[in-house]
């Protein structure tokens, strides 16, 4: 499947981006008998080739060498660049959206099918191909225990997380934090070990290491041109084009290609996540075992627009969260094994914007408004209470929030003036181009998006299939 053995034209559908959405669309359409090509800017890695060092994981699996920044440089954007996208590097959390999220989507978009009943069969179909489990209580680590205890002490409600994984062999002493750089035992239900494997077995063509730089429509064909990592240029065409290259990737491609819809790149949300560390007298060893086991499940938190999760990260990421440098930094880092961590993720209300500079690079304009800051501070206050009630010696807020739920920029809706794609996932500006990933989200749901991205991608595939 080298690039020179792959046809550049004659495809029914060319899909740009191989994350949860692009992979599910490719799988469904391929299964329906359509001739599909999946393009990915990142490289292909597998269990035996994932980078082992954090240095290499950051460089090889993310855009920009690890991190991108918004214009105010106060949100670190983590945008996966690897075959399988976010499913390779995420924490594989699976949550269905609740009524609150769907009702706000219906209000924003005017689309009636955004409800649990109408989308249930798509979620169910995802569950048929993606294994999931709750972390067994005996494998939760002390960081999770602190989280649970802190919730109990403060009268908050929490629930075990459901993760897309199977057979993690915790009994062998495996530590899931390692899988943030790709799962080396194929336990995490990433796209290459689930739907992409099936699709490739069934004839799906994949080209990795190819960055789409321009999209044009000529004589009823979509043409995606771009550049391979080795600098060679390339061009692929198909009857229909599916954009699933993330909020930033889709907006950048469309804007650089001269698409004019005024809402392209707008309504961008990230669920800004602020990790807070706490130092304990005894070792916590947050990196051991199933490093993430709980989430908040508190109706008051949900109403207030934030959620909490017990999380952790490997040493480079923890070091980057700490304040200062030199001795100040070393004084904390020498006790890294004594650190616990809780994260607040805000359901952000202030829409950001993706645009491009003269060189064609994406510019991320995103800030928090007063309401977002109120939500954030409420979450931080709850975290303080959790740590203080469980004996923390010192609480250390992370120095920079991160955004890894990248949503919006090509929002869906019934009004062609305020939305980029229609209810059938087609762009208003060109009906042969579809958008299927989280860039179509009309606002921030406040819930981990990957399960819904997969479900909506199956629904989008049905719309695309009808055109053939």
């Amino acid at each position: 499947m080298e690039k020179d053995k792959i046809n550049s034209s004659g495809y029914d559908v060319v899909i740009v981006g191989s994350g949860c959405s692009g992979s599910f669309v490719a799988w469904k359409l391929n299964k329906a008998g359509l001739n599909c090509l999946l393009l990915e800017a990142g490289s292909y890695f597998h269990a035996e080739s994932y980078p082992r060092k954090e240095l290499d994981s950051n460089s090889k699996l993310y855009w920009g060498g690890g991190i991108e920044l918004n214009t105010e440089a106060n949100i670190g954007i983590l945008r996966p660049k690897v075959l399988g996208g976010g499913s390779i590097v995420n924490q594989a959390l699976l949550d269905r959206f609740d009524d609150l999220a769907f009702d706000s989507w219906t209000n924003e978009s005017g689309i009636e099918y955004f409800n649990q009943k109408d989308l249930a069969r798509y979620y169910d179909e995802v569950e048929e191909v993606i294994a999931s489990q709750e972390i067994p209580a005996k494998f939760r680590n002390r960081n999770a225990a602190i989280f649970e205890q802190g919730f109990t002490n403060n009268g908050f409600q929490c629930a075990p997380l459901v993760r897309a994984q199977k057979d993690c062999k915790y009994e062998d002493g495996n530590d899931c934090v390692e899988c943030l750089g790709g799962c080396r035992i194929d336990s995490k239900q990433s796209m290459p070990v689930t739907v992409l494997k099936d699709a490739v077995d069934n004839g799906l063509k994949i080209v990795a290491d190819f960055e789409a730089l321009n999209l044009s429509m000529e004589k009823g064909r979509g043409i995606v041109s771009g550049r391979f990592t080795n600098g060679e240029s390339g061009e692929f065409s198909g009857k229909k084009i599916v954009l699933a290259a993330s909020s930033i990737g889709n907006a950048r491609l469309l804007l650089n290609s001269g698409f004019k819809h005024p809402m392209i790149g707008r309504k961008f949300f990230t669920h800004p996540q602020h990790m807070v560390l706490a130092l304990y007298e005894e070792a916590v060893n947050s990196h051991k075992g199933a490093f993430q086991g709980f989430k908040s499940n508190d109706p008051n938190f949900r109403k207030s627009g934030f959620k909490l999760e017990n999380v952790y990260a490997p040493p480079v990421a923890i070091a980057m969260l700490l304040p200062g440098f030199g001795r100040t930094h070393q004084e904390i880092m020498r006790y890294m094994s004594h650190l616990a961590c809780v994260e607040v993720a805000v359901r952000d209300t202030n829409p950001g914007r993706i645009t491009v500079n003269k060189a064609g690079r994406a510019i991320i304009i995103k800030s928090l408004n007063k309401e977002d800051r109120i939500r954030w501070n409420k979450g931080l206050h709850a975290i303080d209470n959790i740590f203080n009630s469980t004996g923390a010696k010192r609480i250390i807020p992370g120095s920079i929030p991160i955004g890894l739920h990248l949503m919006g920029g090509c929002s869906i809706g019934m009004d062609s003036n305020t939305a980029v794609v229609d209810q059938d996932f087609r762009m208003y500006e060109n009906q042969d181009i579809y958008v299927t990933d989280s860039s179509l989200f009309p606002n921030a749901p406040g819930i981990n998006p990957s399960f819904t991205i997969m479900a909506l991608s199956i629904k989008a595939s049905e719309s695309i299939k009808k055109e053939f």
Partner: protein, 145 residues
Amino acid sequence: MGNNNKYIKLPLPDYQEPKKTVFTRAHLKGVEKLGRVVMPEDSDFPAFSEIGAEKYLNRMVDYMYEDDKSAILIILKLFSIMPQIIIKWTMSLIETGAKWQGMLGAPFRMLRIALKGLIFTVYYSDVTENQTIHSKIGYDAKIVM
């Protein structure tokens, strides 16, 4: 797929390396001096200079956007001729400026991420053969394959 391996492997080529960045002696000197400020020698921690960062920089810098890479290389060149005390003062200024809200603090936050990121990424990835840094901080995460 006819694949009897233990793990799933799609029939795709392995990843492609990007173009190599060329570091001058001045760039490397700048990294060493910055490393001494950000991760000074300590009774528990090996000095940054012991790592031999020059061997590993490409694994990070090659993957950056061109304009970010150019900016970092200019700063490293400047550091190569600056006295260490001025680099320390600059880093303190960056930490202070990074706390300023809005666009005013943006350049400082960018610099903080770029410069600390450069040093911490090489240092805490524990890339050297003897791999002592993770054991010093009690980090022993593993996957049994």
